[in-house]
Structure formats: C-alpha cells, structure tokens
Symmetry: C2
C-alpha cells in the first residue's frame, strides 16, 4: 500500500503535487461525481495527467485505489465527527453542528453522501478487500460515537453504548439516503431529530 | 414502455415465460447481485437467453430497463409495506412485522437492500430519467407511510404526517445501510426502535 514511501525518486518537488496524490484526488472526484463502478482506470489516468505505467507503479488495480479512497475519506469523516464532538458542550449541540456541517457541504455542492455506503452499493459481493475496508471504517466510526456516548454518560456500559452509537450512525445514513433519494434538503435535518431520540432512549 | 402488449406475435405460449419477462428478471438478479453500473447489456442478453435484436425491441437502452426494474421492485416494496400495515393492529405490530419480513429475506439470502438507494448510488448525476423514477417511488413510499400515520392518528395534519413518514423511511434506509456496511443482522432490528421513536415524537 505505502509503496510510494520507498520510492524516493517519485517524490514531488516542493510546491508540486505528487503524481500519486493527483491520482487519489482525481479518483475521489470521479468516484463521488459518477460512481466507483462507472469510473475506469483510463479516465483516472487521463484526468490526473499521469503516465499509464506510473499509475500502475502506485496502484496495481482500481480496487487498491478504491481502498485508499475509502481509507482517506473514511478517516477524514471520522476526524470531522471527532472535532465536532470535542467542540460541542452537549449531545444536542454536537448533532446540531453535524447537521449544519452537512447543510454547508450541500450549499457548497460538496455533499455526495457517505463514501462507505456509496462505494458499498457499487461493488456487489465481488470485492472482499473493499467490503472488509468498508466494515473496518464503519466500525471505527461507530466506535468513536460509542466513546462519546459513554463519555456523556448516555449509556451505562460499552455494549449498550455501541448499540446507541450504531443507531446514531443509522440516523445519519438514513437521513443522507432520504436526501439522496428525494433531493430534498429538509430530510438532512432528520439526523438531529432521529439521533437525539436514539440517544435519549 | 408497454410495447410488448402491441406485439401479439411476441406473446409467450401458455406456461412459457416471455422474452421480455426473462430480460427483466435476469436484469433484476444481476442489478441486485453485482450492481446496475457493473451489469452490461451483453450479460443480460446472454443470461436471459434472448436474441440481441429482440432485446432492443423491448428496451432501447439499459436506462429504460433500469426504469422498469425500479418501477417493478419499488411498487412491489410499496405493496408489501401496505399489506403489512393492513394486517397489523398497531404501529408497533407493523414495525415488528416489517423487521421480521426483512430478517426472513436475509435468511433466505434475498435481502439486497433498497432497490432505489442501490440504483441511486450507481448512476451519479448522469441519468435524469432514473433519478426522477427514484424520486417518484420514494415519494410514493413516503405517501403510503404518511396515510398510515394519519389513519393511526399519529399526526394531526398531512404536513406533519409526511415528516413523520419521511423519518420512518429514514429509519428503514439507515438500518438497511448499517447492515450493508457492517454485515451485522442486529442492525436491521434498529428499524423498529428508530421508527417507533420517530412515530411517537
């Protein structure tokens, strides 16, 4: 995976975006705009201005690039949620901040839904590697929410904190999908309503 | 769309499945197992044992076949929910029956998630026709749930019934996606928990 760290000759000059970085950014943009399944390696190579041979130096397959995309955007998502929780005085304030962030992404045309769910819907059962990565990142997201639930004393033990956290994440996935299905931004505000009720059960 | 009704010569003999029907059933199986984007017309033609030319007699494009798939499986889903509501004495009983049905589909390896959400995740923004069909069916599903909410006097007017129904459907979408992301059947039971709290708000 971290092949590039061993290839010093491929390192970018200062101020230059590395070819590997251009590939990942281009792939993410295409996966989010047109979907993982509909995006071919040739399009990624063309739009990232990479030589075909050097693409394969970085990623031996589209699947490995998909894995890197998931890792990067899944971790980014977890970091965002963690920041929001740290900055919010109450669970109510955290959920409101989460919805506000999502509505801002929508206004800036940067809301594509959940990277894990979007990719998962496009790989059928044919990529155990990507399915495992989706699971790992979903569990990591739920674990971060469960820590918060425990810290806020909204559950008495880690088992019930995990269940509550799973329901909070279901509130997010549900609202994001209803928005995606209907195109109506009001659906996004249901995250706050539904998750709050899952929290205070 | 219903071109086949005007083509009497293509009608199947009694006991025979029509070519059009074989195409739709094969497409649905492939869309659900490997995804819409990953399924090519040639595979559908081969696996439905159809002549290439007659495929195009029925469906001028994969998009039109996708639309028929959505219409058929979306309506089927709405009919199932309507039946469950009619048979259940209380909202609690309806939600329990809904979860039981989904868990049975899972045991029988017939649970693929929501056809609308799965297809929506795979078409990016490039098929206004399919996006419109997804919206139509999502609205129809929410409308059926809203009628039930009103009938059960769980909302005072149709506006708030629609909001409650949207949240019930978000509970379904959320739980189905958490199951798909984690592979854990317990996530499916959250439909009942979350929707019940949305109902009794």
């Amino acid at each position: 995976m971290k092949k590039h760290t061993q290839k010093r000759d491929l390192s970018p000059l200062p101020g230059e975006t590395s070819a590997r970085e251009r590939i990942v950014i281009t792939a993410a943009r295409l996966f989010e705009a047109q979907g993982y399944a509909a995006t071919g390696i040739n399009q990624i190579i063309a739009e990232s201005r990479t030589a075909k041979a050097s693409f394969y130096d970085y990623f031996a397959s589209k699947e490995l690039l998909g894995e890197e995309y998931l890792e990067r955007y899944g971790r980014h998502h977890i970091a965002l949620i963690t920041q929001l929780m740290a900055r919010s005085a109450t669970p109510e304030a955290f959920l409101r901040a989460w919805v506000r962030l999502i509505l801002r992404q929508l206004r800036e045309k940067k809301l594509y839904g959940c990277p894990m769910a979007n990719l998962r819907a496009q790989i059928g059962d044919e990529s155990p590697r990507l399915i495992a990565k989706v699971r790992e990142l979903t569990h990591a997201t739920i674990a971060v929410l469960a820590d918060y639930v425990l810290e806020q004393r909204l559950a008495s033990d880690s088992q019930s904190a995990m269940v509550t956290a799973r329901r909070m994440f279901a509130a997010y996935e549900g609202a994001i999908h209803i928005w995606k299905l209907t195109g109506e931004p009001a659906a996004l505000e249901d995250i706050e309503f539904i998750a709050l009720r899952a929290l205070t059960a």
